[in-house]
Symmetry: C2
Subunit: 119 residues, 2 copies
């Protein structure tokens, strides 16, 4: 058998078009604390994946990768190859075009939650 159309490695991953973003999918992606924390970190600008931390630093790479996948497939973040690693960017404009104000007030609420645990 011919190897066919080449398996294509995992460089440029698929990202949904702005018009294809689904509200329910976006809300679902944001409904997980860990993913929401990732979005919060990206609110201040793009980040290399290695610089983007999870609440538990000992979480396996595959789990982190999966969290990113859910966010990417929902159209919330862009995940591009950059050198040896990956650069993560919040798709602010695309989200705002499709769901005006949504990201802004989610971020406002998240950031207002003054990272406190116990007084």
């Amino acid at each position: 058998m011919t190897p066919d159309i080449a398996p294509i490695p995992h460089l440029d991953l698929p990202h949904p078009e702005p018009c294809d973003l689904k509200l329910t999918q976006v809300l679902f992606a944001l409904s997980d604390p860990e993913r929401l924390a990732i979005v919060r970190q990206l609110a201040f600008g793009p980040l290399d994946m290695a610089q983007c931390h999870l609440s538990d630093a000992s979480t396996p790479k595959s789990t982190k990768s999966h969290l990113m996948k859910v966010l990417r497939e929902a159209g919330i973040i862009r995940n591009e190859a950059s050198g040896r690693g990956r650069r993560l960017t919040l798709r602010r404009d695309d989200l705002d075009a499709r769901f005006p104000g949504l990201l802004a007030c989610v971020l406002a609420s998240v950031l207002a939650d003054t990272h406190d645990g116990a007084p």
Copy 2:
């Protein structure tokens, strides 16, 4: 044994306090198409549960009840006994106090989605 504090039937169900609303829980509750459709119907005012329709009219009562429970426990709707049935109300003010603007733009996006299926 004494019957104790009376098992309490399913009249007044528990509703979270405004300050106890969790953003992730709210987003999760809204992330389901069926639940979002319910919220859309309540956007124009309270409704008796019997008047609140699901996409599939043949869905069992217990399933409908469960959808309402998720919305109620997230603090999105109020579910009060009213005569033989139940009255559902969107907790607009409470949601807006805790997550300013969130419900508004979710509703705006949902309502903009001009209930069309196929052209």
